[in-house]
Subunit: 434 residues, 2 copies
């Protein structure tokens, strides 16, 4: 006999959890579609050379990569790189701007730690083929309302634009160290200001440049305040100006889209770790669960698709880390039943089985979820089963009931019973369920 | 630049196809829940020793298996073995009988051929913890109604019971060759009667035994006829009698569940290729697409979980091969739009963007799926985009409209336009959409 277990670092849900999880995913789907994104799924397995075209270092180590036959394959580790590949591959079959949502699992062989698994869902929206800030605002608004639909705690978007820092670095002839500087800034929240400062000094950023840069990345607050502070900084650089303009427009559009001033902040320390971002970047913090870290993030990546295709296809997207969010919903599993069944038909003996099946069939035709107990256990055990998994109604179909074409409906919550004719059964059940 | 492509044998959908596919999956989910099955997902990656505990030979060759760190891993190739592992692993956290449905992808490195892919969805229902024929009838009825909800062609269940053949073999002291005989019979439809006969002779089945066995496996027709023919066969064997009794009960229950006599046949040549089946087995043929082969199949497997756990946990299940079924739905993609958006807000110029976002926001709050065109292209191009991807309504929000708090609704089908106030907009749009 082999001990049954999932590989280390993998997580599976029990029925109540799975039902809560699915409800969350359904709401995400609905909200994404409400904002006009179309569903897409990509292959779990990709050619390794394609998947790892840009990413190296840490990511490459975490990828599940293997040879089958003589093909070098890898499991996707996010949904953005496969999207870039998909859009490049199907360029002539798609209409641009192309906006899609994707809700699928990704795999990363991370060190197992609490709340982090090697297989988890990502929920992404992206718009490809628009370099306009309208698209940036679109993915931000969509993400905000999606979180509102599923999160038990208020979400605040932390928005920045890489062009601000990139413009600053250009103006001060520091762009060669751009990526390294971005990576240091990205760790500010984790490592604190002193360590960040020291890392920047170690990189050779000194004196006035250092002070000016620190001043920018410390800007974190209401959009109006940060914009006003940024506009005071006199940097004669197109990229910087463009970044500032884009932030101004984003502020206007988020407000027009119904977001309140407290729903988002401009936080100049947000740059995101991935190298492919070129403009707007954001993370999302839950007010009551700040230690969870960012539960939704993304940004603009104008050159990612160009690895695979000569046409310029700028993109912007946002990803929700649902598996982490789900950890906050676990409380809900207690109030959720372990089955979608709304009624259980109790089977008293074998000869009554056809009547039980008939009753179930009638109810299903009226959109009621019904289970016939699939064994010939004692009625008490069957009712106990309904109680355990949380079926709200039990239908007793004994010999008396069969003779008279009736059923006895037992409300599991109140314990009350009522015998009704088959013609009145549906109405009666709907009354109790609703 | 790297040429973007999926690995050989993998298939991805375009937006219209994906939307048709998702509608099909939604209907399957709904029908499974209507019959009281609860959703479950298992990990894509399993420990190789667990996944391959029983299966060998052909299956093992097709499995994607790889080492990560020092762990021997494999991608699931079906949903039944992972379920057996899951149920054994979570035995004390589950309530039995446990009925779950599972809709997930599986991976098999099959030889690429038309309509066969290396990644495809399976949709399974299973009941574990009941050895009663009620459960057999339950998965059959659920599968039948699910196919009715999604199939463009009438489905007929072809049902048998391995106990019939197994009982016959026992009675004639041929049970040692049982698995080999089952595998030969399984190929009857593909290889024809003569080849089957020859294979059986080569295996050493001769004379009266051969004739009697052929007589049984040729039985294929209405449940009543086959039952009457089977009851004429005088075999004094418990297993045979049990198989016959089970078929009789299944017939009664399918009819009680609303299936007509033409919805299922008893076909004694059905034994299924997998060794783990122990009782009822079935396949499903579409009347107008017989060449597609079986599009749903399954059966009873009473010993599968015992690889992983000492408690007896009998099971029965059914799997729908949706990827194959989907090939019949491709026609539908022509009538399906490439987006869930019901309206597109056309953006005339940048200064009107906030008004456009406001209009979209108002409509979304009323459950209308709206996209704001995410770029500043010419209005003609924006309307052309709506036409191409099939958005039925276009909302023109020009300067006049903004001043008067109105929108102009253009019906893309009729070409008619109507300018209405924001307060009447929702009603007007709902009227056109419905």
């Amino acid at each position: 006999m082999i001990t049954p277990k999932t590989p280390p670092g993998f997580n599976e849900l029990l029925p109540r959890e799975q039902r809560v999880f699915n409800t969350m995913i359904d709401r995400i789907r609905m909200t994404y579609e409400r904002h006009g994104y179309t569903p897409l799924e990509t292959s779990a397995i990709e050619l390794a050379q394609i998947l790892l075209a840009k990413e190296g270092g840490e990511t490459a180590k975490q990828v599940y990569r293997f040879i089958k036959g003589d093909t070098d394959l890898a499991l996707r580790f996010d949904l953005t790189v496969p999207l870039a590949r998909y859009v490049a591959e199907h360029y002539h079959e798609l209409t641009f701007p192309f906006r899609r949502y994707q809700i699928q699992e990704v795999w990363r062989a991370e060190k197992p730690q609490a709340g982090r698994y090697r297989q988890f869902y990502q929920c992404d929206v992206d718009i490809l083929g628009s370099n306009n800030v309208t698209a940036d605002a679109d993915v931000l608004i969509t993400t905000f309302y999606t979180l509102q639909a599923i999160s038990p705690s208020k979400a605040v978007l932390h928005i920045s634009n890489r062009k601000i820092i990139a413009g600053f670095l250009q103006a001060h002839k520091l762009e060669k160290k751009g990526l390294e500087i971005m990576r240091i800034i990205d760790k500010l929240a984790k490592q604190g200001l002193e360590k960040t400062k020291q890392d920047l000094i170690n990189l050779g950023i000194k004196n006035t440049n250092l002070l000016a840069l620190l001043k920018i990345i410390k800007l974190n607050g209401s959009a109006s305040n940060v914009l006003s502070e940024l506009s005071k900084i006199k940097i004669n650089n197109d990229l910087f100006t463009q970044g500032l303009n884009e932030l101004e427009k984003i502020k206007k559009l988020l407000q027009a889209g119904g977001l309140k001033p407290t729903d988002f902040v401009f936080n100049m320390s947000i740059v995101r770790g991935l190298d492919y971002y070129t403009g707007m970047v954001f993370e999302t913090i839950l007010t009551n669960h700040k230690t969870l870290g960012s539960i939704a993030s993304g940004g603009r990546y104008d050159n990612l698709v160009s690895q695979y295709r000569k046409e310029a296809i700028p993109g912007v997207g946002a990803s929700i880390g649902v598996s982490r969010l789900f950890s906050l919903l676990k409380e809900k599993t207690k109030q959720t039943s372990a089955t979608p069944a709304q009624a259980l038909v109790v089977v008293f003996n074998e000869s009554l089985l056809p009547y039980c099946f008939k009753v179930a069939s009638l109810l299903r035709a009226k959109n009621i979820n019904v289970e016939v107990y699939p064994s010939l256990d004692k009625p008490g055990k069957q009712i106990g089963y309904a109680d355990k998994i949380g079926i709200p109604l039990v239908l007793l179909c004994g010999e008396d009931e069969e003779k008279k074409n009736m059923v006895t409906i037992k409300n599991m919550k109140t314990g009350k019973q009522k015998t009704v004719s088959l013609t009145k059964m549906v109405m009666e059940i709907q009354k109790i369920i609703s």
